[in-house]
Symmetry: C2
Amino acid sequence: MRVRNPDKVQLVKQKAIELIVKDGFEGFSMNKLAKACSISVATLYIYYKDRDDLILNVAMEEGEMMAKAMINGFDPNMHFEQGLRRQWQNRYQYMMDNPVMNTFFDQLRTSSYQDKFLAGFLADFKIIMSKFMHNIIQRGEIEPMPFEVYWSVAFAPLYNLVRFDNEGQSMTGKPFKLTDEVLWQTFNLVVKALKK
Amino acid sequence: MRVRNPDKVQLVKQKAIELIVKDGFEGFSMNKLAKACSISVATLYIYYKDRDDLILNVAMEEGEMMAKAMINGFDPNMHFEQGLRRQWQNRYQYMMDNPVMNTFFDQLRTSSYQDKFLAGFLADFKIIMSKFMHNIIQRGEIEPMPFEVYWSVAFAPLYNLVRFDNEGQSMTGKPFKLTDEVLWQTFNLVVKALKK
DNA sequence: AATATAAATGAATATTCATTTATTTATAAA
DNA sequence: TTTATAAATAAATGAATATTCATTTATATT
């Protein structure tokens, strides 16, 4: 029995993300993907049931890897500032290591795949996140607030900085590079906002 | 000479946004748009050069309207808290009045139209924004910081709240509705972060 | 009322799309 | 070495795509 070529499988995943990030979902097609991988388009249908199955599988796989990277060394019983710093560190690290993934996840979030994607990979992740928030509220480290408010203040600035970094140049026309210094400067502002 | 029907032109714009928001760019087509408007697809090519021209024109037009709504009653010489509150108010108002536009702009930002879109409608807008920041820094109302940091802390939480609101339910599973109370609670945290 | 002209259209075009079919190729097990 | 089986492919399928063409329709100007 002929065995499946793992390099080819890997290549398909990588090129799929590359193409989608470059051209958006509207410019992505099975034929283009096959051509970019120098394989037959029929081979894609051996690996995946159909186009949606391909996209969702690639997305979920990467989503799980990101979720793992995010909770690395993190414990919901940590103190507020210590825990939040760890989460910023993890996200920053992941984003620097995987510069295209942020765009990819942004595209998924604003596409018709949103529901299935979010439903899938966030399962365990969101539990640990809200447990942390409840802990630090109960310990009186931050004021009580809805989860959505906490999340928006605690993480939205970070994601926005990464987006600025990806775009290279921001609204001022000057180039922008997200450095360690800028990251922790922003982190300190966020802590100041949330800390009692 | 026959005159162009303005209702029809308006209908095309409105339906285009509706369809794109509902199905994403990947599910949008000229034929579907024509059918949704009950007009001939050839008519679309009287109004616009091609598909890209249509999408970009609709996007830019809406972008300019949003930019106008954002600086309504705002002056870059305002004091920090007063000016920022006005901007939050304007954005909140616009988003409540145009619930689909946020999704639409998010889709544009993560699509292949990103560059042309951002380049277009932000021209005047970004000048007034960075002038405001420089003023409040010079007056010593906030610490000096890169524009990207200021923007990310000042506005990213707001945009994130609106996104949670649009999605209806967030990570906790409970439904989330962005109310005045939640908005200004978040605003106060952001002010706390930035104010000296 | 006649004319000129752009709007609007229905039907056609060529191209690209996702998916399938028939066939060949590689390899694990016999 | 033979056999069985899944991998891999080239080519083909019909449906959907963006765009164009030939024609008709409405209206402002003469």
